[in-house]
Symmetry: C2
Subunit: 316 residues, 2 copies
């Protein structure tokens, strides 16, 4: 019985990569030749998959781009294509689902049966019982599925809920590390525990009985990655926000890498997908993916091997 | 330019009802005659719509039941059917979407363009900037859409995040009002503000510039309905959890009604949809819907009219 975390770790080792390629095919941004295609989202994604598979340890299709257009069939085609041509690379369906038990069960079927995803992203706002249908899911062979729970999302306003905090005497101003847009943190206090940290704690202590939980932590909040890493050991962290959103790759790696398991999935979507917009878009995507993969590997080669303890986030 | 809140208030007045009929067509629970249909979810929903439209002020289809089966087309048919045959009854798409801005925009298109919903349920975990594409959406005629933000959900485990609370000295044991299953509240403290109350506060003070926000508050937490009502004035509250989930209808009404606007949408799904399972399932659904509608109206007739101030939650 395959476990998702082993599948992912094996892919990361074989591919020599921690790069997750996000498939967010916005039809308005596609190269003209792809836009004219009868199934443009699939045609584009297939080109991107072939161009980047060498540098990727996972693919992460974003369902919203298909759902907006009524193009679920193209999402199915895309995932089936990966399964057929790159069966050793896990597929994480980015759906951010969350609903009460009976309904969550339907969403689990959507992700794992209809789309055959190996993992899914979910929203923790409804609590652990709402996550159970994803956490406990087994396919016909008994294999589990990966469940990446939103913890600290990459958007500027993520703090309004995720940084709500146990009350403490002195409010402290804090700037996110690795972004320079001055996005304000509406609620950050010096004591207690934030909602995001509570989610990380639940994930580590209550929700991971089956060993299939990961967390989503935005690259735009590097200090958070380091703090959450301390709470959750070598649990996989899926980190979006490098590239178009401005997260600092080196800082993410310093904060989130663990050894011997990598424990980190660096997602890049737009900076790869739209690296070029002409006839050479696929070649441009390959070059961009190679660049991210290489930067990550260079950083890893510089790191001392620390068999069990997660490395401290040291400025290099 | 139609505003969603006016559309809803007009429907509630014309229909003489606060009942929202939830369309959660689980194919395994359908009456045999419906299950054999080529488009079973639509066929069943159409029968339910015709049987209950007289008693309903809104319909709330749950997208997960369609998505699990790849039956989005039947969801489109269902909503189109309501628009054609009962155009004065608003459709709330229960999708609980939530994602960062660029992706949330795609989900807004899914709900409002593809499915032509009048309102949608959304998840606040990602913060206000992630809700903006829903809050700011206008259709080609300039009409807004209703946005029901999850605040306190009806499931037993909803407190693990939603009741995380500002730190205060003394933990207080609390039992939900209107449910008897003894579902524990993991984190309820006597002081400060819970995450759910903070969401209600954001909704009232920051997110409702366009006057199109509502909140989802489970019928299983009646004290919460009363407390949230005090924070948000006559903002519409969508209240699931009456019926199969065991919420107490009278207690919900006592806690949540406002005047002159009703400000309350009582959702019932399973207790209407599956009131019967034989050939008479539609008649059974009609009887169930009439029963809920009548109970609500009886309660309202007993209430003294209080033009502006929300009534106190008095035990009757």
């Amino acid at each position: 019985m395959r476990k998702f975390v082993d599948f992912l770790a094996k892919s990361q080792a074989q591919q020599g990569s921690l790069l997750c390629v996000g498939l967010d095919p916005d039809v308005e941004k596609l190269p003209p030749a792809m836009r004219a295609h009868r199934t443009p989202l699939f045609a584009f994604s297939r080109e991107i998959i072939e161009a980047t598979a060498q540098w990727a340890c996972a693919f992460k299709p974003q369902i919203a781009y298909y759902a907006a257009l009524g193009a679920e069939h193209q999402l199915q085609q895309t995932i089936a294509y990966i399964k057929q041509h790159h069966p050793h690379i896990p597929v994480i369906l980015d759906a951010k689902r969350g609903d009460i038990g009976a309904t969550a069960k339907m969403y689990a079927r959507e992700a794992f049966e209809r789309y055959q995803a190996d993992a899914v992203t979910v929203n923790p706002y409804l609590g652990g019982d709402a996550l159970a249908p994803f956490l406990e899911y087994r396919d016909h062979s008994g294999a589990d599925k990966g469940v990446f729970i939103l913890c600290r999302t990459s958007n500027p306003g993520s703090g309004s809920i995720q940084q709500l905090h146990s009350r403490a005497p002195t409010p402290v101003a804090a700037a996110p590390l690795g972004v320079s847009d001055g996005a304000a943190e509406p609620q950050l206090f010096s004591g207690g525990r934030s909602v995001a940290h509570q989610v990380a704690t639940y994930a580590a202590e209550q929700w991971n009985d089956n060993g299939n939980v990961g967390l989503v932590v935005g690259a735009t909040w590097c200090r958070e990655i380091a703090a959450i890493r301390k709470r959750v050991g070598d649990m996989p962290l899926l980190v979006p926000g490098v590239g178009a959103q401005g997260g600092d790759l080196q800082a993410v790696l310093a904060a989130g890498l663990t050894a011997p398991r990598a424990g980190l999935l660096i997602n890049v979507s737009r900076a790869i997908l739209y690296a070029g917009n002409g006839r050479d878009f696929a070649a441009a995507a390959a070059t961009a993916a190679e660049g991210f993969c290489e930067q990550i590997q260079q950083f890893r080669r510089r790191q001392p091997t620390q068999p069990a303890k997660p490395p401290q986030a040291t400025a290099t």
